[in-house]
Subunit: 467 residues, 4 copies
């Protein structure tokens, strides 16, 4: 017990200096530690791009790019790895690079890039990195060993998608990973991948290596999972729009998920889910400033003095409204509206219906707006024809701002302050929603007022002083 | 052209004095006028109650009650109708009363009260009243004639319910009603009823005689429809909770529908619908203070100086929330939630989902809350079992307050003022929704704070001075 | 144990002489006997017709017809019942007749004849008859008592229809009927009716009083159920077409059901069903020739020397065929064909599809043929348009002859003899089916060849000698 | 006009001698002739097998087998093709073989064999053959040209499968093929393939090159389509069981489809369908005995002197029966039975239900029997539990014999003779069906009696003398 999981992203593994820093962090306390790694910075994108080019028969730069990849890995091997591993590792990298060339050639020949081949290609970066990092650690007397994620994370098909098979994966973690950890090994595992029921390597999809880390954390019943990134933690607001943003020191899972929903770059909300049932804390830290405490995300975080913890905003949204007096009091309008959206696979964010069912409005990404309108026009063909529903309206260029904080629930006047301060900026609010979870208040405003609104709200809730 | 429809409710036709007043109003301008009448005040309820008693075999009071009904109608006939009609009308009333006794006897014998027989019984009040009122008017030289609603309002079955057959009804109005109006007749028509495809009289259901009047208004392409009631118009708020309420002078259809949705006693929202496509104005006036201008409801009403026009509130509501991080970003949670409600025929009022799809909340009448929870637990059985959804929560004893006014859309700060003033009263807001129609802001609060909240908001928007 | 059920039909209870004969039969062995009776011959039809006329307001003959009914029952009472019952019974009959007049009057007044009122009217014949017969038996020292079927046969709703609630009915039979039988009473019970969950009398529908008898037989776990009718038993063929028909002495349930399916006049197949699970024998006897052994229907009847036991024929049928090479080998054509029929509630009798699924044919009553074609054209719209299916064909004026006998299974050449003998008559066979139950061979021929075919087959299988 | 299509199968193109024979046939009348070719005998199977081995990484024999394929084609090129083409063709074949080796190597590398790659591999045999045959014909002064099927047969997706896009294909045939034919060219086209909407070569599936030929025949509105095979035509019965079988000289499309349904080796029923709408005759001839007239299949074939034209039999079938008196007269039992089969994708052949709906029986391939039973038990769970349906029965080891001939309809006694002769052999008939199309009588018998039954019937209908 007392297992921990660290995960290092690509930017934390970009070159020799970075990798040394990573090794330094691990060495602080390698006991019962599982380390999940991404590929070296830029490697996954490069491999994906080469695969896409191969299927188009466009392989002119391939040789040179593979050589670059080879040299980046060989460089790390020469400088950092254990002397006794150098030859083997160098041979492995050469072999992987050669194999990639063969695969790209086959892809070109057959003119197809299947999901299976794609996974095999893009996962090679993580695998090389994990092997190398294990040796780097061994060079400093750590018993660190590469362990392939395909041995641990087993996938199965559910409703047509490959998803983790918890039962089987837990069995593997118990029989393969835990004994090694208990014997003092530090396990270095490539992120982003698992094994399909047919025994093929497959990628995990949304959430990537972060998801690998939190899955392993849950399978291990770990004490903590730490995601090392190149940011100090989750911020109170987007620094491109707001000066004086701060790292939020503590967040509840649900606050974090809410922030992650629109700000997927730092953390995908899917990566939080595996930790929730067991209440395992998730820590976001900066690889290059390990002394900073980062952001702690957990289930038992108290609201604290700051009822509002962060602002999040997403632009390029469209607000769709279905209005019609003809439907008043007739059950089923909401069901049909969202049924039409679900059928088209359009994810709906803010929803609001004020009192009667005569009008319902919701937000979708702007690029889905036209499809949403058409789906609704099909679904309500009869009602539109008989004027029970007036036309389906779209307001484009909208932005949703969410004011997030579990503490709002016990504090009067949060909403009043929000509207007051938006009002003072003469910003018009197109829709408002605050749900019973009292976790956030969301407002829809015109996109071009996003910056002023964020700045005003950030100041209002004194988020520049959060701690 | 220039047709008008007046409708007088039961309280406006309660006795000789009332009926004289009604006749006086009609005489002011009887030209091209169609008058829809309810039964004399109390008559419909009395007939319904006698029918219900007959089917139970409990007819001990029947004779006396029928005699009371007979005398009320005969009194009006003796005092007010044209001398040449008195004998015929008196005979008609006696005949109707006798027929009702026969029907009740048959109902008792057979032990069943079918919808058809019920309609026949309860509609007899409207029919007697219409005949009598026509004669009252004739006694003052008006060419007023009784015209049965079954000749005009034809019903057909749609999706299992009897609803007006517009095409056929318009044909009837054009061939039967309009020629009479054009010849100078004033048509007196019993409200509440229409004719089934089998030729039976049937009641119109929700909206009653008001609905008859607005249907006829739309079939006639009338200039206006006026509903004469015993109130001065639609009020700024419920006077039981708020002192100094005022009549709202003008409302848009949608504002009125929104108010009507929760305050069905004055006006059922269904009665507004027939007027919307053609933009026919609807006027609510007080029969006994005809000089007051009442409330005008139309499609081209300008917002005016008062962005908020009225408050409406409904208590005994429950707020239901479905929360779960596991569903984040997966399309279809809203569709499934409201699909479950529609299947159980539960009408949903305020809905809110703040930004991510991880939590959705909505309001249902408190008595439906348990059924709603069970339906959701069935619908999300799998997700609850695997903890993708936390439990379905119900907050009981809630009240929804809607702040209604189309002008809110162009005026900054309405929301801010609302929350500011609720905040000052230390009232906690459990959910907020403002849709794109910008017609209302709705808040969910604890039921026991309804009065203070209404009073504070009424003062805040200075609704005691509306004009 | 050793309970028996007798049922006497209307023709067996047509007048004083008949009823004496019935009483005589019962007196032979009244022990543990339950007697189910129909109304006096013609009474049910007369009551139904009076009710139909009342709803039309056509009651001119009613008084006279009710008087006739009254006199028929009073006559029996005067001549046959126990002296001490005469006054009571006579009063009861007068009361029932008066009540019927009141009901008809109410039905006329309300203009509706609901299922509930109809059941109440038509069941009064059975009830009077049961009361009278009990007294007739008492006049000869038998302890015979009227017992109302509503106390025994309890109905509930299943899939929208009222059907017997076995569990509840068995409880009633055990607590109400069996104790009386065990005390030496003979129970006289009106047939055709049961009690709805609301406590109303309702008719049992298809199968009528025979069904009452077999239901009670099964609830009682009776030794036998005997249906006394005015025929000698089930015949080898329809005597209108075939000379020298004979009573079939013994039949298996399934043979009887097969014969009953097309010849519902003597026995509705539904009446056989309750007896099957417990294997209770059913006997069809002639009330007026009680010495004849009639037809015994049971589950353990051996095939005997006559592999073919009877012929049955139904005319006014249409044969429908769906043909199309385009559907060959594609699963689902049969499902869609019969799905279309089920949706239209069209009962399909003979079905045949020879080897490939390129053509399927089946028989429906001629009056359903057009509806069947239209349903199929809708169901196969696409396939017809693209000529995957040629048009849907109907052959009218067809007749289905079934050659019935369980013994056919073990005897070679039955089919050969059938076709040989039809062939010799130069009768063309339009379709043939023999299923695995080897219970019957069915052929479809032109209606005008029914007589010759039946006669030839009857001769071929020597059915004129069956015993 | 006057276009014709010939198709030569692989056995007709097995070696130099065969191909010379094919060329000889074409030369007889090359005018407006379209020739569809399979690959050289055995080539398609060899390619498929190599592809399957490559994906397993088992390529040890590949080189040798590709060399054999190369030599077979080179041999034909050397011996038979036009001198001026030899070098090009030889180069083409070498290139195809080399490309196949590259593809197999890529398939091995990637470990996947997609449908697209498989089609590309297996179609190369047809393409080489078509090129070579064109040159063989040119060597004898014919203007024969290779034309790729991907230019003519365009596919699109319908209900999830790729099927011919008639509209587009007809456009291509009119703009690409017909002008060439009209200029005196003979078009030599590889069979078995078409082009997907993405521009990839795809195989046509069931019916193969025969289907290519009849599709092109229909697109061309050809006068005739001739399929050259290594058999004399369709036979009166399977010669393995019946001595003295004969070629059936003429068959109606439907007779042929019926025979093809169970005897798919000579002709797949799907290949007949394209010709039916336009009534284009299909001829089956023997490449090596071109003087024999073979079998003519058309829509206007007269029944002729032989009402029965052929027998067909299929063994390893199971007969399933659903029996239950509880369902009698209730619509929908057939629909539910076959609905259950369709849902499981089980193709049902002979169906029979004799008169009442109390028992229905049908035949499925024996390997589907258990699945069918389980599906029925699920579908009739309730009815089985309440004993409305007795258990679902399966009779295994059954054989369906179909006696096929359109002339049966006008001829009495066909059925009688069938049953008489089966009866004389003491063969028991388990089920019989003859549909309204009067095209066939089908009987289900025990599998081990198939030979005797076929021989007896063949003799009975004197099929050994058909002409």
């Amino acid at each position: 017990m007392a297992y921990r999981v660290f995960k290092f992203g690509g930017s934390s593994l970009a070159d020799t200096a970075c990798i040394s820093q990573v090794a330094e962090i691990i060495r602080q306390d390698p006991n019962r530690l599982t380390v999940v790694v991404s590929a070296m910075g830029g490697v996954t994108d490069a491999l994906d791009s080469l695969a896409q080019q191969a299927v188009q028969g466009n392989r002119s730069n391939e040789k040179q790019q593979l050589e670059t990849l080879r040299q980046r890995h060989q460089g790390v091997i020469q400088e950092l790895t254990a002397p006794e591993d150098k030859e083997t590792l160098a041979g492995d990298v050469d072999r992987v690079i050669a194999e990639l060339a063969t695969i790209f050639s086959s892809v070109e020949t057959l003119g197809e890039l299947t999901a299976k081949v794609h996974a095999r290609v893009v996962s090679s970066g993580e695998r090389m990195m994990a092997s190398i990092l294990a040796s780097v650690l061994r060079s400093d007397k750590l018993d660190a060993q590469f362990l392939d994620a395909t041995e641990l994370i087993k996938l199965h098909k559910e409703l047509g998608s490959l998803v983790p098979n918890h039962e089987k994966s837990i069995q593997q973690v118990q029989s393969v990973l835990i004994p090694r950890l208990n014997q003092g090994q530090t396990a270095i595992i490539p992120g982003f991948i698992g094994e399909s029921p047919d025994g093929d390597v497959m990628t995990l999809g949304r959430g990537g290596s972060d998801y690998s880390a939190t899955l392993l954390g849950s399978f291990l019943k770990a004490d903590t999972v730490t995601l090392y990134k190149e940011v100090d933690g989750l911020l109170t607001a987007d620094p491109r729009y707001v000066p004086n943003t701060r790292v939020v020191p503590e967040l509840h899972y649900r606050e974090a998920a809410e922030l992650a929903y629109y700000g997927a770059k730092v953390l995908h909300p899917r990566a939080i889910i595996p930790l929730i049932p067991q209440g395992i804390p998730l820590i976001i830290k900066n690889t290059f400033k390990p002394a900073l405490s980062g952001t702690l995300i957990a289930g038992d975080v108290s609201p604290g003095a700051y009822p509002v913890k962060a602002l999040t905003a997403v632009s390029r949204q469209a607000m769709i409204s279905v209005e019609g007096n003809g439907m008043m009091g007739v059950p089923g309008m909401a069901a049909r509206t969202f049924g039409a959206m679900a059928q088209e696979d359009i994810s709906v964010s803010l929803i609001t219906q004020a009192s009667s069912e005569s009008s319902i409005c919701f937000v979708v990404p702007q690029k889905e707006a036209q499809g949403a309108r058409e789906a609704l026009e099909r679904a309500f063909k009869y009602e539109i024809e008989f004027r029970l529903i007036d036309e389906i309206k779209i307001k484009r260029d909208q932005c949703v701002i969410a004011i997030v904080g579990l503490g709002m629930s016990g504090t009067h006047g949060i909403a009043a302050r929000a509207f007051q301060c938006i009002h003072h900026k003469e910003i018009n609010v197109n829709a408002i929603a605050q749900g019973s979870s009292e976790l956030n208040i969301s407002v829809v405003i015109e996109e071009n007022q996003m910056g002023p609104a964020l700045r005003a709200l950030h100041r209002e809730y004194r988020l520049n002083r959060i701690k």
